[in-house]
């Protein structure tokens, strides 16, 4: 507006905030939708977690104890699908919904009704997916990667799987479009691109990745569907199709998907470490370019997931070297986070603890990724527990820890209450110890040759499997502290100030805690933006 208006109290008492179930079903407010995404994500995390605990229970001892191999494979498949599409991705979308408008100085997302729609697709998608456990033939058991021809042998659950993947993809696309339009068109005056917080930057690039690769997934699963029901032979060798081509197409989606699950984590860590180091982020612009470089490289490394299918030497070399290139921008990020802490006035509240754990443990996942990038070594590691350990270090101690760190970081802002720091610290130490007990021995198992996705194993692997299962039980139980702590915080935490953390910068900390129903009803001033953008 050309001229600012006075905001007197008259007529201000009604904020048109809907109440009851209508508030949630018809929600167009970015915070309500963000909350729903986070609740859904938490629910799916525990459902996927139960599947994981069942897997580790079966693997506690050699031999078949509890489940038949088909059901075991259903558990691994559903665990993967639920955790990736149900827990990690919706959590990041929830965080984007909550934080992006507040951080760019916008009142809401650009397309609020689309935002509502993109959320409400998901409960239907997961009802379909989880419902597949109860149809003849059981849930899909061909792995989350859905490789044909194995996946084509799925029973009545097959169309449910395909349709649920389509719905999840549709939700992701709608969410990504909304994030892009919000960031590009709803930024407050003065919020230039290079003043945006790293979380916003990382989400902008993530949204770009999402819209780049989601049609590939949609097309791939549609071709599976037509191969199954309509007699096409895209991936059926008997009809002239090529099952290996599915792997190429899937991983052209799948590798950027890995970065879709980690780039927002980089953004979160880039918010938290400066706050608790009480220093500006070291090398802000380098961090932006590093995220963009990682995103670009993610398009040209897909075949490192499938070195063993057989490909020309030149292709193997290309994919090996391009994969190793990713270590450079990732190294820039790790170096800059470390440099941010250098000579900082560090304090170790739960968000910082989880961020530090991310830094150490994600790096372990990165290093094992470099080992896997080497073609000759990968021939040995392929489909062993080494791969399993690698991607769990990336996705659990990377993506999941960053989400927990983000919740601990912004929870005082969302609720207006501080949480129980002692309990949060306990949550951290239990998680950090048990996650390593859970996943680190799997490196040894993999190097010794234990294959993935097998419900039984040779007795020589027993000891480390027992250790790993104990870690899984401890890690699973310690996660129960998390929802308890959040509920306790909402109900009875002491009041949090607007700037809940002493070293916090960014526009969101200029708003009251909790923020009003509509975030920035008048755009923040340039001085406020400059204060927030003190990179």
């Amino acid at each position: 507006m050309a001229e600012p208006h006075a905001h007197a109290a008259a007529h201000d008492d009604h904020d048109h905030k809907p109440h009851g179930w209508r508030r949630w079903v018809f929600a167009t407010n970015h915070k309500d939708i963000g909350t729903m995404y986070l609740v859904l994500s938490c629910t799916m995390f525990f459902i996927g977690g139960i599947a994981a605990e069942c897997i580790r229970l079966e693997l506690f001892r050699p031999g078949l104890q509890f489940f038949d191999p088909q059901f075991f494979n259903s558990l691994t498949t559903m665990h993967g699908l639920i955790m990736i599409f149900g827990a990690i991705m919706p959590a990041f979308v929830g965080l984007a919904n909550w934080m992006v408008p507040m951080q760019v100085g916008a009142p809401d997302m650009a397309l609020p009704r689309l935002n509502n729609f993109s959320f409400w697709i998901l409960p239907f998608a997961f009802t379909l997916l989880i419902g597949s456990f109860f149809v003849p033939g059981g849930a899909p058991a061909g792995g989350w990667t859905m490789y044909p021809p194995l996946i084509l042998q799925t029973g009545a659950a097959f169309p449910m799987l395909i349709f649920s993947v389509h719905l999840m993809g549709m939700s992701s696309i709608l969410g990504a479009i909304n994030v892009i339009v919000t960031i590009m068109n709803m930024r407050a005056p003065g919020m230039t691109l290079l003043r945006m917080p790293l979380f916003v930057w990382s989400w902008l690039i993530t949204a770009y990745l999402l819209i780049a690769v989601m049609p590939v997934l949609a097309g791939a699963v549609t071709m599976l569907l037509t191969d199954h029901f309509f007699g096409t032979t895209f991936f059926t060798a008997a009809g002239g199709g090529d099952p290996v081509m599915f792997q190429h197409i899937f991983w052209f989606f799948g590798h950027p998907e890995v970065y879709i699950m980690i780039l927002p984590a980089f953004g979160i860590i880039s918010e938290i470490i400066p706050t608790f180091s009480r220093k500006p982020l070291f090398g802000y612009e380098a961090m932006v370019y590093a995220v963009a470089s990682i995103a670009f490289l993610s398009f040209i490394v897909w075949a490192h997931h499938m070195f063993t299918v057989g490909m020309p030497l030149a292709a193997q070399l290309f994919f090996m070297l391009s994969t190793m290139l990713i270590a450079i921008p990732t190294g820039v990020k790790v170096f800059n986070w470390t440099a941010t802490m250098w000579k900082g006035s560090l304090s170790f509240e739960p968000p910082m603890l989880f961020a530090l754990a991310f830094l150490f443990l994600f790096s372990i996942g990165g290093f094992s990724g470099l080992m896997l990038a080497m073609v000759p070594a990968d021939y040995q590691y392929q489909d062993t527990y080494f791969v399993f350990a690698h991607f769990h270090y990336v996705l659990v101690t990377g993506a999941l820890f960053s989400i927990i760190a983000a919740v601990y970081y912004w929870l005082p802002k969302w609720t207006g209450h501080m949480y129980d720091m002692k309990l949060g610290t306990w949550h951290f130490w239990l998680s950090a110890i048990f996650v390593n007990v859970l996943f680190f021995p799997q490196h040894f198992l993999g190097l010794a040759g234990m294959p993935r996705r097998i419900p039984d194993y040779a007795v020589q692997f027993t000891d480390w499997n027992m250790v790993s299962s104990i870690g899984a039980f401890g890690f699973g139980l310690s996660q129960l502290l998390f929802p308890y702590l959040i509920i306790k915080c909402i109900r009875a935490g002491r009041a949090a100030g607007n700037r809940a953390w002493e070293g916090a910068h960014g526009l969101e900390w200029e708003l009251p805690s909790p923020p009003p129903f509509h975030s920035w009803t008048t755009p923040p001033s340039d001085a406020v933006i400059a204060r927030g953008a003190a990179h």
């Binding site: 006075a6 339009v181 097309g219």
Partner: protein, 159 residues
């Protein structure tokens, strides 16, 4: 005593230019259409229609959001008149109300999920103001206009 006319110009906040939107859209098209096209040539055509649908959706979203850029309203309050000039992409519309009959009304929405509506009304005619503003901004504008225009039962100032 002549009073200088009050002029208020309102427009939504848009950080994206049309050129920027075109560049963004073009860059977003590269990968889905590039990969979709390449795979279609190899016989795996079903990716391309999904890419097309997705890009249509992105184009629609950008268009809807960019429409805001072309909206603006200028409200001019003089001694005798209140005029509202509304500009959109396709043209400009000007409505003039006699000041001493004009009423500023801020209506609560019929459904709580909808935005309120701010209008200037007189003699059975009405003109909506600030539909693109946020709730808070609209209420602020309503208060300001109510003060500037006065009430229907107030006499116009002495000539």
């Amino acid at each position: 005593m002549d009073v200088a006319p009050l002029s208020i110009e309102i427009r939504p906040n848009c950080s994206l230019t049309v050129r920027g939107a075109r560049l963004l859209f073009a860059s977003a098209c590269v990968m889905p259409f590039g990969m979709g096209g390449f795979l279609a040539l190899k016989g795996f055509w079903p990716i391309l229609p999904f890419a097309g649908l997705e890009m249509l959706l992105l184009a629609w979203a950008l268009k809807v959001s960019l429409e805001r850029r072309f909206h603006s309203q200028t409200i001019t309050v003089t001694e005798s008149n209140v005029s509202v000039e509304s500009r959109q992409r396709l043209g400009t519309e000007r409505v003039v109300f006699p000041r001493h009959w004009a009423q500023v009304k801020l209506r609560r929405p019929a459904a709580s999920l909808h935005p309120s509506r701010l209008t200037i009304e007189s003699h059975g005619r009405q003109c909506e103001l600030g539909s693109f503003l946020t709730e808070e901004e609209r209420r602020g504008l309503a208060r300001r206009l109510a003060r500037a225009i006065g009430r229907v039962n107030e006499s116009p100032s002495w000539p």
